[in-house]
Amino acid sequence: MEKSSSCGFHCIKIKDIGVKLGKDEILKNVSIHIHCGELTVIIGRNGAGKSTLLKAILGEIKHTGTIEFFDIKQEKYENLKIGYVPQSINVEKHMPTTVYDFVAAIISNKPIWLKKYKDVYEKIKEHLKIFQADSLIDKSIGDLSGGELQRVLLSVATIDNPNLLILDEPVSGIDRNGIKEFFNLVDVLKKEYDMAIILVSHDFNLVKKFADKVVLLDKTIIKQGTPDEIFSSKEYKERFED
């Protein structure tokens, strides 16, 4: 992954996203602008459509509206490359997939079941270092702690230099220290690697500390702005303080 200083010249425009499931309108008129080097946090109650919005941006579900990735410097639209950290993955204790196997299968075309490839191994180890996860490389992904797994998932999501990083409630199942550590890593990615990041989170104290922008979602955007603006607004209080 390449380090880069904040350029501020890339912009992801999420325009007028709507999702219908049968007759139910799950999301409508969702428009968000996201810049590189910026952490945008989506908050909302259960069923507000947070995960649905992420799935729409990922292109996994049918939606109306568009997602555009614009290079301001060169004045042109480019293909958006997304890195994604899901809520959970299909793991079992002691399963025969090591961290190396998991990552190598994603970044390399050489069949991981035939042999271990030294060059791929070194590349993965190097990248895991950014997330202090290089010592986990030979461990089974089923034997990692919640925090360790999150660090591995973050390195998988970022290994091919995505323009946008999407993190879906990644802190559930991790203790307090793990959550803090996770936010710190996200902050490093934002500042040193200049990534645009969308995060769904329930930890409002950490959101206040780290977010650049907060979006309050309830089937549509109720309010978006700086953390201070959102957490002092009556719309936020109506939904979370009764």
């Binding site: 799935k55 990922l58 292109g59 996994e60 997304i82 890195g83 994604y84 899901p86 993955i89 299909n90 793991v91 002691h94 399963m95 025969p96 997939t97 090591t98 190396y100 196997d101 998991f102 190598a104 299968a105 994603i106 390399s108 075309n109 050489k110 069949p111 991981i112 079941w113 035939l114 042999k115 271990k116 030979d138 089974s140 992904i141 998988v156 999501a157 091919d160 999407i166």
Partner: protein
């Protein structure tokens, strides 16, 4: 073929090898076992045991339909199984919950339809051998089909395994990395369909699924990474396969059951070793 026969006779100086049907059976099992083992690794990972079981059952409908339309059994079964597997896969992708119920519905309908048609035409007894299978009845022509399937599935595994693996861990990650999940998944289930249909005549509908599941499940008990997972599964599958044929030759037990019993023994041995190896 003669060359391979001669090599076998030189390598294995036992009296059983002088029979052509034993040579054919041995060649077939050497081709089939590794395929069962490697496909099994991802069937077990994806918790698809029930899925492949249903696929085996669909063979009966395939035979029946083939008979109705006068197509050869092999072709009818393979075509039907491919359609059946793609349908099952679509259903699996559309429903997040209760996939096992839907697979069960498909599976029962496939069996019922097969039995009804075969009984209706009055030919059921002729095909009841498909339930148990007979590995000693393999012809040279069928071995050539097997060899082709062996190469094709090996190529699929070399070029697509990484993607199949990523999908098995998390489909959203796979999609975000640009993998066409439905396409790759379809290729995977079609591979299973082909190998199940090619071997069902020799292993039998009742036991075919155990050959896909047991070697991989045994290996999973003791393997620490993907290389070991494949290697142990292939060894267990090969050893049970070859030993199963020899046992059935010497003590007159049907081959399919002999192979499955041996694989079962491997499963329990690895199950006991599990904590020692991985603890």
């Amino acid at each position: 073929m003669e060359v391979i026969y001669n090599i076998l006779e030189t390598l294995l100086p036992f009296d059983f090898i002088t029979y052509d049907f034993m040579k054919n059976a041995l060649i077939a099992i050497v081709l089939l076992s590794p395929l069962f083992a490697i496909l099994g690794t991802m069937i077990v990972n994806n918790k698809m045991a029930f899925f492949s079981d249903a696929l085996g059952h669909s063979a009966l409908t395939g035979i029946a339909i083939g008979m109705l339309f006068g197509i050869s059994n092999n072709i009818a079964m393979i075509v039907f199984a491919i359609i059946f597997s793609i349908l099952l896969n679509l259903v699996k992708h559309k429903t997040a919950y209760g996939a096992d119920t839907i697979i069960s519905v498909f599976s029962s309908i496939a069996i019922a339809l097969g039995l009804a048609i075969l009984a209706g035409v009055g030919n059921f007894n002729k095909y009841s051998s498909y339930l148990i299978g007979d590995i000693l009845g393999i012809s040279q022509e069928e071995i050539i089909y097997l060899a082709i399937a062996f190469v094709v599935i090996l190529l699929v595994w070399i070029f697509l395994f990484n993607k199949i693996h990523t999908i098995s861990i998390n489909t959203s990650i796979a999609k975000s990395k640009g993998i066409n999940v439905l396409l790759i998944d379809n290729i995977f289930v079609i591979s299973i369909a082909i190998i199940v249909m090619l071997s069902i005549k020799w292993i039998g509908i009742l036991l075919i699924n155990s050959l896909l599941i047991l070697p991989a499940a045994s290996s999973r008990n003791i393997a620490k990474n993907m290389r070991q997972y494949h290697l142990f599964a292939i060894i267990i599958s090969l050893v049970s396969g070859i030993a199963g044929i020899l046992i059935s030759y010497y003590i007159n037990v049907p081959t399919g059951p002999a192979i499955v019993i041996l694989s079962g023994v491997f499963y329990f041995i690895t199950f006991i070793l599990k904590d020692k190896v991985k603890g």
